[in-house]
């Protein structure tokens, strides 16, 4: 029963997030506000472009993409950088390090309950609303299965990047700037704020060599593609799998190395 101890943390996370009903409500309201802004912004962009299709995407394509990206963000964002930074600053990290499981797993599974609640509280409703409102613009088929696989890997990649960024806090002992920087980079380069189709060619090329687009762009493209070709899906998932493994290894090594630094030089 090795998994039981991890799922126990998930369960506690779910229980904890139920304690903050109001926070959930505020979050939903905040999202609606953000989506309103997105709606009018892109409406203006399309109006001023003079054509219906910009960079191969119609207005409703773009909107569906961005709404789902926001929903995905709500559910995937772990604030791990905050958590690590704060526990380093407050010294609480000592207690977390003394749990009988690796810190990395402990942190991840402690947060996993929020995945579950956020999935049901924000992603699923948004997804259903988008499906209903657009009347079948989102294809419902085998792509859903690919999407789930892709999201799982996206979560791992996102967490690894967060964990690495959090590890930097060991050296800087400050969180705010680092966290903001990470967030801007990830949200922009992953296609969460602007669809990657809109990027200029050189940037598009550069982004294709980076792990970020695997977090938002890949799962969303898979989801929104109704008649996927096997090789496009497989190559997209393959790239994700590659980044998953690479980032897992790098973030783990970086953490082990840095932890030794604390344990050798003191907190």
């Amino acid at each position: 029963m090795k998994l039981k101890k991890y799922f126990a943390l998930t369960r506690a996370g779910i229980l904890e997030s139920f304690q903050f009903r109001l926070a959930m409500l505020v979050m939903v309201a905040g999202n609606l506000l953000y989506l309103t802004v997105v709606y009018f912004l892109w409406k203006a962009i399309y109006a001023s472009s003079g054509t219906d299709v910009v960079n191969g995407m119609t207005f409703s394509d773009t909107l569906i993409y961005l709404v789902l990206a926001t929903a995905l963000f709500n559910f995937m964002e772990m604030y791990a950088v905050w958590e690590i930074g704060r526990s380093i600053q407050s010294g609480k990290i000592v207690l977390d390090l003394l749990k009988p499981m690796p810190f990395r797993s402990y942190l991840f599974w402690s947060y996993s309950g929020t995945f579950v609640t956020q999935f049901f509280a924000t992603f699923l409703p948004t997804f259903i609303i988008v499906c209903v409102v657009t009347g079948g613009a989102v294809p419902l088929g085998i792509n859903l299965l690919y999407f789930v696989i892709s999201v799982v890997m996206a979560v791992i990649i996102n967490y690894s990047i967060d964990f690495m960024t959090g590890t930097i806090c060991i050296y800087t002992e400050s969180i705010w700037g680092i966290n903001i920087m990470k967030q801007v980079i990830v949200l922009l380069l992953s296609g969460a704020t602007i669809p990657i189709a809109f990027f200029p060619e050189p940037l598009k090329k550069a982004v294709s060599y980076m792990p970020f687009q695997s977090i938002y762009n890949t799962p969303l493209s898979i989801l929104l593609n109704g008649s996927p070709k096997a090789e496009t899906v497989l190559s997209a998932l393959g790239v994700q799998a590659f980044w998953c493994i690479v980032l897992l290894i790098i973030s783990n090594l970086f953490w082990k190395f840095s932890l030794r630094k604390i344990t050798v030089n003191g907190g």
Binding site: M1, K4, K5, F7, A8, L9, R11, A12, L15, E16, Q19, F20, S90, G91, K92, V94, L95, L97, L98, K99, P100, M101, P102, R260, I262, T263, V264, N265, G266, G267
Partner: protein
């Protein structure tokens, strides 16, 4: 009895940047490589047997927490070796964590927004405590303290005392071989302190758990510890029975006097009157304290001398407290 903790010639050094003053200094610091080495723990050796309660004492910054962090595996010694339960804690932190429990005075390991019982259930799964072990532990807890009202209360609504109590129960829950208590009674009222001491004592007796306790409260030491270890500035000053320590200084008593009139004047006068006897006179705003070595001078004689020349409004006689004992160690050292 077997030794559960062995510490051999352990030294811990930290590298600290030499900070300069002012804005200009801070700017220079950004590029400075001017490190100095601080010895937080300096060549400490001790062994602790299974089931002991050891009081680990010393002033703030003496190196107590650093030693505890090394024993738990959070810090790695610069020199020397620590084995806890046969493991090297800093190499095998996760495995070691399974066998130890920790309470850090003002920090809680409980889940803040959840009722205590949920934290317990979670710890049960995290530490993979078997069902029988868990229920017998809860039964034991129920026989020792009144936890029923606490179990369903969210931790954030608890008072500091209730929370500390809960944290201690949580630390013992997986029946660890060693529990580290870092200032567990800090900030608590007298009755809660007593409750917590009784609890720690009972759990130690019942489960034969080794307890390492750091505290500034001598009441904790008197109530719980058979053996005390004192460190200061990273160096070990003392490691022996508490009885031995008391025996060493045991013939001292403090006579406290409140005379009519100005305390300072009387105190100066008394110093003259009592010159030649083995006493030392100190005073504060309320009392004149006379530390008497009863091997050489009788308290009654002292009292006789000083009441001849003044009215005594109030007096009391105090056994020397462990705190004073430690202060004396700092001043004179153990010969």
């Amino acid at each position: 009895m077997s030794n559960i903790i062995e510490i051999k010639n352990v030294t811990k050094e930290f590298k600290v940047l030499n900070r300069r003053e002012g804005l200009k200094g801070s700017l220079k610091d950004l590029f400075s490589r001017d490190y100095k080495t601080i010895r937080a723990v300096d060549n400490i050796s001790m062994t602790i047997a299974q089931g002991e309660i050891v009081g680990y004492l010393g002033p703030n910054g003496a190196g107590k927490s650093t030693t505890i962090k090394m024993m738990t595996g959070v810090l790695e010694p610069t020199f020397g070796q620590i084995t806890v339960n046969g493991n090297l804690p800093y190499k095998d932190r996760t495995r070691n964590a399974q066998e130890i429990g920790v309470v850090f005075g003002q920090r809680s390991q409980l889940w803040w927004s959840l009722p205590l019982i949920e934290s317990f259930k979670l710890l049960k799964d995290i530490y993979q405590i078997p069902d029988e072990g868990y229920s017998s532990m809860i039964k034991l807890y129920k026989s020792l303290v009144d936890i029923e009202p606490l179990l369903h209360k969210p931790v954030r609504q608890m008072s500091l005392g209730q929370r500390t109590l809960s944290d201690i129960l949580a630390a013992f829950l997986h029946n660890p071989k060693i529990v580290f208590l870092d200032e567990p009674t800090i900030g608590l009222d007298v009755s809660m302190k007593n409750k917590i001491r009784t609890l720690i004592h009972a759990l130690n007796k019942e489960k034969n758990t080794t307890v390492i306790l750091t505290t500034h409260d001598m009441g904790d030491v008197d109530a719980l510890c058979q053996r005390i270890v004192i460190i200061d500035k990273g160096k070990m000053l003392y490691d022996n029975d508490i009885e031995h320590l008391k025996g060493f200084f045991g013939s001292y008593r403090t006579l406290k006097i409140r005379p009519d009139g100005d305390i300072k004047d009387h105190s100066d006068a008394m110093k003259n009157e009592l010159a030649g006897r083995s006493v030392s006179v100190t005073s504060d705003d309320e009392w004149i304290s006379i530390l008497v070595n009863e091997d050489k001078t009788k308290v009654m004689d002292v009292l006789n001398v000083i009441q001849k020349s003044r009215e005594i409004r109030d007096m009391k006689l105090e056994e020397i407290s462990t705190e004073e004992v430690i202060r004396k160690i700092y001043e004179e050292g153990v010969k």
